[in-house]
Symmetry: C2
């Protein structure tokens, strides 16, 4: 399998974690999003949505959208189970993942921040306030859901799931923008637990071949 | 089951479509998002994330996040199947749904538009340009994915799936903001097909008990 990705892309990071959690080997194909490589003609035939990550299977089939890729891997590949075996558990894990992937991350990704700067002439400080606002608001909802359900050492029970794959990259991003994580005790305890796990360590941006300082 | 929702909420609309497609009866509980009801103390104990939709099961368990709710219903309830039976098909349907739910809708929902107006003092016209920009960009990616895979009368084959549940509300929203849909021929053909289906008709905003002109 080939993973088209970018070291700092939060959605790419989610898939890297899942691949490492399941112990699946993959070829890392870097696409420099910050330089706009994904918009260049050379990539148009590969990245149909103009986004990373994309996972290419050995028969050439390419999958997109990080949560869909992770569920596919979980359904078809051996290794650790990233979705619970019960329907209510799956609903909870997917909802936690979607708080990050549908409520926080999309509002703060690179192309949206660029639009704020270039088209709406938003200055750096209000842009950073925007960033931190959505991360904080979303993680407060995440924290309440951790409090309301069967959270263990990880988001759902005592093994990592899709929810942890989504949470950790969001915390990394939030840290880059100096987000206030105070009071998010369950969320940050899960984050710390994840970062003691080898799979999360191996997947982190600084461990990627295309990492920059 | 009780569905906490708002007639104009795109994510609520997705779940209403799924409930009607599966032929499941539900109690409609309106929450007036535009008036900020979901932020009021009375709802805090019910809407843990401060968002609609939320689906309350008969035992009182409440599920959140529209795509997670729809997958739960599909896994546990009788009626039409909204996810394909093969893993690659599921991956494609989830990815199509996530183009809408992770790339388009979050950037354009009510709270984000309010933030643009109130905090960043963005005027109406650039706000509308922002709206149309993300819808158009996202739907162009959606169109390319429809062209690249086994699209039929609906997004994936000839019966409605989770992808159609997400697409239709996004087109409704785009229409309210006069988005240019030209050239999105596959996408709009699927939309027209959906709107000939009774379940989509029953679920649309104008058919809701809390509908306003």
């Amino acid at each position: 399998m080939k993973l088209y990705n970018y070291f700092r892309s939060s959605a790419s990071f989610r898939v890297r974690i899942a691949l490492h959690l399941k112990g699946l080997p993959f070829e890392y194909v870097p696409v420099h999003i910050a330089k706009g490589e994904h918009k260049q003609a050379a990539w148009a035939g590969v990245l149909t949505e103009g986004l990373v990550p994309a996972l290419e299977l050995d028969d050439g089939t390419r999958l997109t959208q990080s949560m869909a890729i992770i569920e596919y891997l979980d359904e078809t590949q051996p290794g650790a189970r990233l979705l619970p075996t019960d329907a209510l558990g799956r609903a909870r894990v997917r909802a936690l993942a979607q708080i990050v992937a549908c409520e926080i991350h999309p509002i703060n990704n690179l192309r949206v921040l660029k639009y704020l700067t270039r088209e709406l002439k938003v200055e750096d400080e209000p842009k950073n306030v925007w960033y931190r606002h959505w991360v904080r608001e979303g993680l407060e909802a995440f924290e309440r859901q951790l409090a309301a359900g069967p959270t263990g050492r990880f988001c759902h029970g005592d093994t990592p799931t899709l929810a942890d794959c989504c949470l950790v990259p969001q915390i990394f991003n939030g840290q880059r923008f100096n987000t206030d994580f105070s009071g998010l005790t369950r969320t940050m305890a899960v984050f710390e637990q994840c970062m003691q796990h080898e799979a999360f360590q191996k997947a982190q941006p600084s461990a990627c071949p295309d990492a920059e300082a």
